[in-house]
Symmetry: D2
Subunit: 433 residues, 4 copies
């Protein structure tokens, strides 16, 4: 495995996408094809048996690479290498009547199945971690920020519950997409299953049954909406995880200090700045989302294919799909790890609110004043007082007191942080229910 | 309306997205808010009535524009203009406790509802047109092409049925997305509905009920997956329509001449080349899909928002959402028109097959030979014969006859186009069932 | 002008790109064409005079819009409206032998010229503001941050000088691109200037001379690299300005508080949170860069055009070019304003360094220790001491003192911030020279 | 090398970008650093010698991978493996004071140099091939097509000359970018060269001199415009090559048959359709341009980095840069090969013009008529006659003759293809001069 390979893929995705893993899956498909063809009498039973035995054995990938270059063909290299070990009467029948896209699209169906499984599992773990954080910190007061500026207090549980609701929508999307995406393909040269006469549909059904894949209503050799949907779904999921990562990156700034990634034994932040503890996972979630998003753009572009097979769009999938799946799997795993170990600093959250000197409670004061003098007038007075107070460096309470136009209100009560939380805690309960 | 506005939007989308239409929808939201607030005793009934009356009257958009610039605030300009016509006691209560994003996100919910309605309706029309084409041309033989080169015959009905199946998957996606996307938002300053005490959730419920929108489980001020999903869905749909457009553009080349866009009275193709009939709609479908796809990339990027409101991501939506919705609506309408009026030239389809001189029937000949001499050997011989024959400019039949290594097969039968169609016709039936 | 039009364009770009501005420029081109054609005897002098007079008068844009829809042709609508006011003998000769792309590509050349002028001017102002900031704050110590975490001190002048060097590279790019991009086109139907016999090249030369545009070596009807280069250049520039905006957004967080946007009279940050001062310009720079970047992707895609004119790629330019130019011009103006009025808080910069409790001076301590015990060993000890000290909440000096393995070094000198600045100040001088 | 690695990189780019090649280049940088540090007295001479010897020997990449995972640090893994073989007094001084980005950005400078060299060389070969094609086919008449429809004749030399002019603009861009892009970096922890006291600038100068790289005016740790410019430049170049590929793909359709890719010995087009000769190189040029373009989008996004190092933007480069460089190098090589071996079918070009039955000569007829009856009236008549004639399936000459409103013109002369070529041939000469 390459030096930085762990940044862009996991063991699970390498087993799907690397030469070794992909070839093993292709062999599985060739084996299922031969078996089903033998059942239907399309190829001799002895040939199917020999092929079945061959595809369970390892393949010399170097030899495949060499033959692939020599033939300029995407699967003929593999076929020729497989044929070497087969007797004459079996050799001829390997991959009979199928085309490259049959094996590669069926492989794509297997990838989709696996990726949706991984997403489901890891989103499940993320869901659990977020539910725990939302529950534990239902009442943990912190600054709500808009445009990078403190606005009003929220709770950390509220923030976690917002993330959780988003993650649950992704789980719903995954479930809805599954039957559409987890299908294979046995289409033949131009999609009409031309090589197998009237047996085509039944042959396809049997092959897909063996592989645990759905049967498409009609071939999709140039209908790439399934590919696009898969990659877009991964882009949506990794986008959410990048948001979480970016939030943690910001809240981990020492000037804010409200959360921190768990430290990992042996990890070194910087060789020049030995004190550094960098939010490495959080940052990498942002990187990974970019990589997946850029793949999604290409996958959407690939919808516009020509005729019965569009080589340009199709080959682009060979580049984007492994990239997107690898990066998404790393993102899901990192996201689960990150949230599982997240350190939340309640005291700092509270003291950051207090450091705002009361100004983040301008809304409740304004609303209370509004009941006396009308909300717009109250806005004007509070805006002016806050501007003056911030410039003078005094507290919000002092700033209000300094303005004779502002009528008396019960500031002791209004400047209670807890009374400014609105429905934050009830919204957490609602999501956790 | 601007000179080229029809290229990028329809009357329906302008009514959603232009200053005039957007403002009218915002007023509807402000009215619903005031009404619900009055019911809950949050604002005086008289104020709600006055606001309700005001929002049903037109607004001076120039004045709104001027105030918007003066305040540097996205809704305060509108509010100030609305306040001008209101008595003192009503003026104060307009838009009470709500924030910009409440009105703009609720508007987005209304846009989503309308766009999904438009998609549903126009995809329905496209579905009907494709079903008709698939049925009528179930047996219309034409060239199947891969990599831009004739491969084997298919039928035009098969091609239409492949498109149809893709369109139906989009209809399914639209239906699944609807309950997720058609929701509004009443979140207040940082999402906690802080201005309305314990009434926040009920207030939101009543406002959304009035507007016919769903209620989100928790605010989504920085959960933009709904926006991204909407735009991505439009990108998937317009991608398919661009594929259809691109196919028609290519098949309409006079060198191919198999289909043609309907001509439109009064339309001029070229002022310098008076004979031209350009596939204008087909081309524009490709353009529109690019525009929507590029919006989808931005919408996916917008998932990574900071804190409780991210101004950069949110303002980007203001640019991308109108653009994507306008272009998608034009695409849907053009797609329906194009397919409805599509001219199919059966004779040319047949003669293009015949012009291939038999070479597109190489697969059946190879398969038949394969039963005698094994498929791989058959491939070699037919490949060689075809290469020689094409170079010599003779027919496939002659090329085969010229090779003494090729055993006798019943070429009269094998070179029948109809016997090379595989399951093309049955696949059409399956989709149409 | 529309309510939010100021977010996406300036008066200068509207004069280039809106219906009104674009039409005026097209008329200028038609006038130059007629004049040059008359000089070469291609059209009657009287016709040229009449056309010349007509194009200096206003045009009924509504009528043009109506005719454009009726003809389905991009320029015929305008031509027909122009013809209405012309006498019979002049009417015929307007736009003689030219094609749509001649006028629209020549307009693009005029846009390129204007946009490069705007970029040059505004980058010049930004350059001046940054040079001033770099000079004034050459010695203003602040935290250098990597991965969002304080690393070592830098100076604010250093940060400004890094931006300045980047801006100067953009100015160099603008200068190099200018002769390539500021060209027009008079190509005729398929690029061969077919309508004007042997006069084509000379006609083109004269028209471009009138308009102040360069003459292309050969028509570029389907060579769109100029368009792509222009938009990419705008994406590079706005990307840099977004970086500056994003930095200011972050440094303006009250928890950091090192810089602030200038406040603008009358501007309201929030209607619900009256105390807010949002970094509106900074955020919008980020938004604008996304919009331009997404246009750049489309412009690069447009390179792949078919044959002598590719309608899909070309029409996409109609959407992306106005969008990119409008957003880039706003970005340039905002960037200049923002930097011109930027408030720099030296005291806060210094106190933020001090709040790090010495830990950001770990590198110099490590280096000094390294001379005694070797750098790697020094890294281990300092890393361990810093980790322990941060966990215990003690100062870096205390943390070092607590570790008996760490040899004595002159901490009084090493913990001087100024001695850790490396070449920061000299690098400022180098850029300012 | 992996099975499909040849699709996405060349031997040359693998030597830059793969684990093996990258590590070798990093070692070269470490060696140059140690040498220069020794000269300046920053590290002991003996240490520099030992390091210099070590970096010339191979490294156990598996061990580096393992240590990289253990430390979670991008270069510490390599450093630790290098240290294993060094004596105590040398071990300590490897990579002294430098940070990860110093080595990776300097490597980027080396990549830029190599990629620009490759681009220069291969664009030179493409230039030569195009100049040959333009010259040989200066007078080879073929159809000019717009919107996929025949418009007027051009010559194939004209088409090649348009491509050539575009390629030459790219060569100019490459030359202009070179001094900006081919620079290294020795910036230290936060960019201020803090570890080397006043020696920083001189140390950087000496290291870059050794490596043959330029010295940046100020560090660019978070100024990524150079990276973006490089990738964008590759996107521009591969975009042009994709245009050429797409054109050949279309002109190679047997229904058009005007050009063909050279056949390659041993290459098999299809295993199911043995007659196929697919335009594989042409298609792959389109695929590669998409991959590079998508990288360019990410590189432009990376401009918006935070503070003195932005991990998310920077790590994204690790993914996009190898991808873009690999794909661009394949594209350049394929482009040169494709054009070098391109088969041009003059007869088919001519017969395709003739098959248009005169209609592509509508412009000259219209212009000649225009001199008698005015150009607009001529347009109407010719448009009507062409529409009728095409519907009736008669020749353009017959269609004109059938309309009594059309005055007599010398059709024998006007329907000469050569007289409709405009300045096509002169424009070729102009580019070739």
């Amino acid at each position: 495995m390459s030096i930085y390979g762990h940044l862009w893929g996991t063991d699970e995705t390498r087993a799907l996408l690397d030469d070794d893993g992909r070839t093993r899956m292709w062999l599985e498909i060739l084996g299922a094809l031969a078996e089903a063809q033998s059942e239907l009498g399309l190829i001799p039973a002895a040939a199917a048996n020999a092929i079945g035995a061959r595809v369970r054995e390892p393949v010399d990938l170097e030899a495949v690479a060499t033959e692939t270059r020599a033939t300029g063909h995407s699967t003929l290299g593999l076929i020729r290498v497989l044929q070497r070990g087969l007797a004459d009467d079996a050799r001829e029948w390997i991959y009979y009547g199928a085309t490259v896209q049959d094996v590669s699209d069926t492989w794509t169906g297997l990838i989709a199945r696996r990726m949706l499984d991984i997403a489901d599992r890891d989103l499940g773990a993320i869901d659990a971690a977020l539910a725990r954080l939302a529950g534990e910190h239902r009442d943990t007061v912190m600054l709500g920020r808009t445009h990078g500026q403190p606005g009003l207090p929220i709770t950390f549980g509220y923030k976690a519950a917002v993330w959780l609701a988003e993650v649950r929508r992704h789980r719903e999307r995954v479930a809805q997409a599954r039957p559409r995406l987890v299908v294979g393909q046995l289409a033949g040269a131009v999609g009409t299953q031309s090589a197998w006469g009237s047996d085509g549909p039944e042959l396809q059904r049997r092959v897909m049954e063996r592989l645990g894949l759905g049967v498409p209503e009609i071939p999709w050799t140039s209908s790439r909406d399934r590919i696009a949907e898969l990659v877009v779904l991964l882009a949506l999921i990794t986008g959410t995880l990048a948001k979480v990562g970016n939030e943690i990156y910001n809240l981990q700034r020492p000037e804010i200090g409200e959360v921190a990634e768990a430290a990992t034994e042996g990890v070194v932040g910087s060789i020049t700045m030995p004190q550094k503890h960098n939010p490495e996972r959080s940052e990498h979630l942002v990187t990974l989302a970019r990589v997946v998003r850029s793949s999604a753009g290409l996958a959407l572009e690939g919808l516009v294919g020509e005729h019965e097979r569009d080589g340009a769009a199709w080959k682009t999938e060979w580049e984007l799909l492994p990239r997107a799946c690898g990066a998404a799997a790393v993102s899901l795993r990192l996201g689960a790890e990150l949230l599982d170990g997240l350190q939340v600093n309640r005291d700092r959250m509270r003291s950051n609110v207090e450091a705002q000197n009361g100004y983040v409670l301008a809304e409740p004061v304004m609303l209370a004043l509004g009941e006396q003098i009308g909300p717009r007038r109250a806005h004007e007075l509070v805006h002016a007082a806050a501007t003056r107070g911030l410039a003078a460096g005094v507290s919000f309470r002092e700033a209000l007191a300094a303005d004779p136009d502002i009528p008396d209100v019960d500031l002791d009560e209004l400047l209670q942080v807890e009374s400014a939380l609105g429905a934050a805690r009830e919204l957490v309960d609602r999501v956790l229910r």
